[in-house]
Symmetry: C2
Subunit: 426 residues, 2 copies
């Protein structure tokens, strides 16, 4: 790969060939027959990926990888001044049958930027640190952004001790211990505001915005709020032949109406960046000849606007009352997540945009509709995110892809942004 030179930026560039090789290598851990990646937290593939990362990080940076109490991986190189470090990173785990780019790009570009600066003996004022967070993705422990939430104090030792693996019932804390963490030391090792100067995460967009307009990068303005309700529809299971239509309390039909009502409510907001989904939907007893007696579902709403969210919840409540009455079912609701939307740091956004402008690189400014570790880093450090395109908008699937050219471009944007922030920040 040719090195890139930019107007009014430092003449230094990431190594595209190296990035490509490492992306390919990381994609070997957990690759399945469909070409997807199975590398959920605590899996053999996760362990293999961790060992690989630790090995070459230590070799390249001549420093010790620190495994924190929730098994996040960190490595740091010193700076000239006694300042809090600038941190880059993301996560290396994957959803079941996931893709090769989600998380991986952010971890590998973080290391590439740090390596490029080290190799150039670039005189950084700040120490620099990179991180790969534990369990960012949904996993069999039903706990995501585990690493960033725990190390910033959102999840406590007590929260983690209650969690077990869906299938094996292995305790989460035991898995963390097997990966080199120890939740007993969590409380004494939390990150606090101003412990870090800045946090930068590069990630695939996972949507179609960049792909549809053919741009290579987007500066993330903020990260969407995520609201989730666990909803239980209680009807009455009965024989599918002998129960007349008029005598039924069919939980599946009530659940179907609820799904369609949520969609209608979301569409009625007429806002492009508001989405609502029922992704989890379990029918009981789930037999061809039994009228469904219960449906357990999770309804999700994402928006950056609190007021819109409240309107949606209110409207859903009113629609649910109508369904309960019409179908003679009971519908129980429990809010299981109400993660507020988080703006990205203004200064970091501005620096990213200045770098992009000086590089003559057209970019988008968009919200992130997916949650990220950056959400939880934002209260600790000036936090920013850079998106690269997802081809066809696909993510969390084997077809997930990003052009190498865009990844390299993003690497250079990160590199120049770190250099700029290193100057600007105290």
């Amino acid at each position: 790969m040719a090195s890139h030179q930019y107007r009014s930026t430092i003449p230094i560039a990431v190594n595209g060939k190296r990035i490509n090789q490492r992306l390919k290598k990381l994609a070997e851990f957990g690759i399945n027959d469909h070409g997807g990646i199975d590398r959920s937290f605590g899996s053999a593939a996760d362990i293999a990926a961790r060992n690989w990362l630790k090995e070459w990080w230590q070799k390249v940076f001549q420093s010790e990888v620190k495994v924190d109490p929730v098994a996040n991986l960190w490595i740091e190189v010193t700076g000239k001044e006694k300042l809090p470090p600038i941190v880059l990173g993301s996560h290396h785990d994957a959803v079941a049958n996931g893709g090769k780019y989600d998380g991986s790009i952010g971890v590998l570009l973080a290391a590439e930027v740090m390596q490029t600066l080290e190799e150039a003996h670039f005189p950084m004022r700040h120490p620099m640190r990179i991180v790969s967070f534990s369990a960012e993705e949904p996993n069999p422990y039903n706990i995501s952004t585990l690493g960033s939430r725990s190390i910033t104090g959102v999840l406590t030792k007590k929260d983690l001790e209650m969690v077990t693996h869906d299938a094996t019932k292995v305790k989460l804390t035991d898995t963390i211990r097997s990966l080199g963490g120890d939740v007993d030391h969590l409380a004494g090792n939390l990150l606090h505001p101003r412990d870090l100067s800045a946090f930068l995460e590069c990630h695939i967009e996972q949507g179609r915005n960049l792909f549809d307009c053919g741009r290579s990068v987007a500066v993330v303005k903020g990260i969407t709020g995520i609201y989730r309700e666990k909803i239980k529809v209680i009807g009455e299971a009965n024989h599918s032949g002998t129960t007349l239509m008029k005598d039924r309390h069919d939980a599946l039909l009530a659940g179907s109406e609820l799904n369609l009502a949520l969609e209608e409510i979301i569409l009625n907001t007429n806002q492009r960046d508001v989405v609502g989904t029922v992704g989890r939907f379990d029918v009981l007893p789930n037999a061809a000849n039994i009228i469904p007696g219960e449906v357990d579902l999770i309804a999700e709403v994402r928006t950056t606007d609190e007021e819109t969210l409240q309107q949606i919840i209110d409207e859903l409540s009113s629609r649910i009352r109508v369904i309960e009455k019409g179908r003679r079912v009971r519908i129980l609701r429990e809010t299981i997540l109400n993660q507020k939307s988080v703006p990205m740091d203004q200064q970091v956004q501005l620096t990213l945009k200045k770098v992009l402008t000086s590089m003559n690189e057209p970019f988008l400014e968009i919200p992130s509709m997916a949650g990220h570790d950056a959400v939880h880093m934002a209260p600790i450090a000036k936090t920013g995110m850079l998106f690269v395109p997802s081809i066809d908008g696909k993510s969390h699937c084997p077809e997930e892809e990003t052009n190498l050219e865009d990844i390299i471009k993003a690497g250079n944007v990160l590199l120049q942004t770190v250099i700029a922030l290193d100057k600007e920040l105290d």
Copy 2:
């Protein structure tokens, strides 16, 4: 219990106390913490129930229990003449978390009637035989009315050899063998038309007809047809946050529309005894943050009228095309069951009604909206069914119940009907 005497019927009656004791004993096999019965085909509870039945049948009837090639249990007592036997029976297996009466009543009343006749040294012309069929209910092998369908030649050895247990993957034929059957001998031991004189099955109604009008028994006119389609809705799984509403191909929303369309089509027939149900409904990948990419469901329609069924299927096809277009999904359909409706034998119905009239017992004449082993016995023998009430119309659940008084009444109806048929039939 007092014995019952009826005008113009033979002064002989079943033993209510004995029926009650045996019902209670049979309900011990597979009883679970919810008060439901877990006694699916091949389970430990099934095996225990079989052993118990075999033991007391042999003791009471001083004859050998015959376990046929698909593990149906039979026992016969001789008659005075060389005629095909009159057979009574049902099944002793249960759906998961099922009730204490479905099937059990029919098996225990069959034995009670035969025992009462034997004890009275009643001079039957026909041999009499009782049966408990294997796997009448849905079970982990996904094959119901296994015993009656196999022994009458509807399911062949080849069909059975393809079947395995959902979870354990144990071969159905191995389970049959462990219960004393052997499908290698199936072809040589089939029941053929006129091998039996008559088949009578007493069963809980499972609907509300008898309960709502306060009657104790119903003569079944015929058994509903059951039509089932396996339907696969193929959308596109994608990230629930980053995929705009307009870009979605949500299989769950399409499936929801399909459920509601089927209900509407059924209601539009304006026929009381036409029902339609989606009881099985599986969403993939079924995660809170992923737009459902696929739904696998089973749609069922029950009616005694072929023409109505065809109208429903045609209308469903047209609605499915609209859903496919509107939601940009593909919907694949496969007919997995098209069991025609089966009328009950006219002579047996008439005899049942004459007995009931002579007993001054008010009764209903209704179709059975549930399938039964009697469906498959009808081509072999003059077949009839007698229903007893399901309290609140509940069945296939721990709350399933029938008053003992009604059960005893049905026992006496069966007893007098056997005596009458013994005279009438050759």
